[in-house]
C-alpha cells in the first residue's frame, strides 16, 4: 500500500514538473505574437467555407524577380493567369462578400 501511494505521489509530482516545463517552453513563442495579432478582424468563416477555394493559397511562395529576363511569352502567360485568378477571387467576393475573401491570396506567380 505504501509503495502504491509513493508511486502515485512520484507520478503526480513528475506530471506537475513536466507541465511546468512545457508551459515555460511554449510561453515565449505564443504570448508576444498574440498581442500583435489582436487587432486583426476575423470575418465570418461560413462564407469562406461556402466559396470555392481552389484559387487561393495560404502559402507564400518566394517572389520571382520581376526584372529577370523571362521571355515575353512567359510574362504574358503569367499576366493572363494572374488576371484569371484575380477575376475568380473577385467573383468569390461578389458571391460571398467578406473581408477575408476580398483579400485572399491567389497562387498567381506574378505576385507571389
Amino acid at each position: 500500500m505504501e509503495m502504491l501511494l509513493m508511486g502515485l505521489c512520484i507520478s503526480v509530482f513528475g506530471f506537475g514538473v513536466a507541465a511546468l516545463a512545457f508551459g515555460a517552453a511554449t510561453r515565449s513563442e505564443s504570448s508576444a505574437p498574440q498581442l500583435e495579432a489582436q487587432p486583426e478582424i476575423r470575418p465570418a468563416v461560413a462564407a469562406r467555407a461556402a466559396a470555392p477555394a481552389r484559387f487561393f493559397s495560404d502559402r507564400v511562395v518566394p517572389a520571382v524577380p520581376f526584372h529577370s529576363q523571362v521571355p515575353i511569352e512567359v510574362l504574358l502567360h503569367q499576366i493572363e493567369n494572374h488576371v484569371r485568378l484575380e477575376e475568380a477571387a473577385a467573383q468569390s467576393f461578389v458571391d460571398f462578400p467578406s473581408l477575408d475573401l476580398l483579400h485572399c491570396k491567389t497562387t498567381s506567380s506574378l505576385v507571389n
Binding site: 515575353i72 493572363e80 488576371v83 473577385a90 467576393f93 461578389v94 476580398l102
Partner: protein
C-alpha cells in the same frame, strides 16, 4: 441556347430579337472589333469564345492583355447601347467563333414599339454592367492593397 441579355423573354420575343440580328463567323485569331471603334452593334456569343483585351506596353512592345473572356450565351460589346458608343476594349476570337450581331438602330426601333421587352433587356443589361463593376471594384482594391504593401516593404519597417 439561352442568352443572358434575353433572360426573362418568352420564346417568341427571343425569336423576334434574334431576327433583328445577323450571324457572323469570326475565324480563329480574327478580330471582332478594336478599341476605339464606333460601337453600333452588340454581339451575342453563340459558339466559340471571345477574348476582350486592352493594350499595355511591355518591354517597349505593345501587347494585348486579357481582361475578360466570353463564352456562348454571354454578351459582348454593350458599348453599342451606352453612349458615347465607342468600344472600350478590343475583341478577338481565339478559335472559330459564331456571334449574333444586333444593330443598335434596329434594337432602338424595336424597343419603341415594345417597351415591355425594352425594359426587360435594359434590366438584363444593368445586371451585366453592375456585375462587371463589382468585379472590377474588388480587383482594383486587391491591386491597391498589393501596391501599398510593396511600397511599405520598400520603405522598410515603421519607426
Amino acid at each position: 441556347m439561352e442568352h443572358e441579355l434575353l433572360n426573362g423573354l418568352s420564346a417568341p420575343e427571343v425569336d423576334q430579337i434574334l431576327g433583328l440580328g445577323t450571324r457572323i463567323t469570326v475565324p480563329s485569331g480574327g478580330s471582332l472589333f478594336r478599341l476605339g471603334d464606333p460601337a453600333d452593334r452588340i454581339f451575342l456569343t453563340v459558339r466559340g469564345r471571345i477574348r476582350l483585351t486592352l493594350p499595355m506596353q511591355l518591354r517597349g512592345r505593345e501587347e494585348e492583355i486579357l481582361i475578360e473572356e466570353k463564352s456562348p450565351g454571354q454578351t459582348v460589346g454593350w458599348s453599342a447601347l451606352i453612349p458615347p458608343h465607342r468600344f472600350t476594349l478590343s475583341a478577338r476570337a481565339p478559335l472559330e467563333t459564331e456571334v449574333i450581331a444586333l444593330p443598335r438602330e434596329a434594337l432602338r426601333a424595336y424597343f419603341e414599339t415594345s417597351p415591355a421587352i425594352a425594359y426587360k433587356i435594359s434590366l438584363n443589361l444593368a445586371i451585366l454592367v453592375g456585375h462587371r463593376l463589382q468585379l472590377v471594384q474588388a480587383m482594383w482594391l486587391r491591386e491597391m492593397r498589393r501596391t501599398i504593401e510593396l511600397r511599405s516593404a520598400a520603405a522598410g519597417p515603421a519607426r
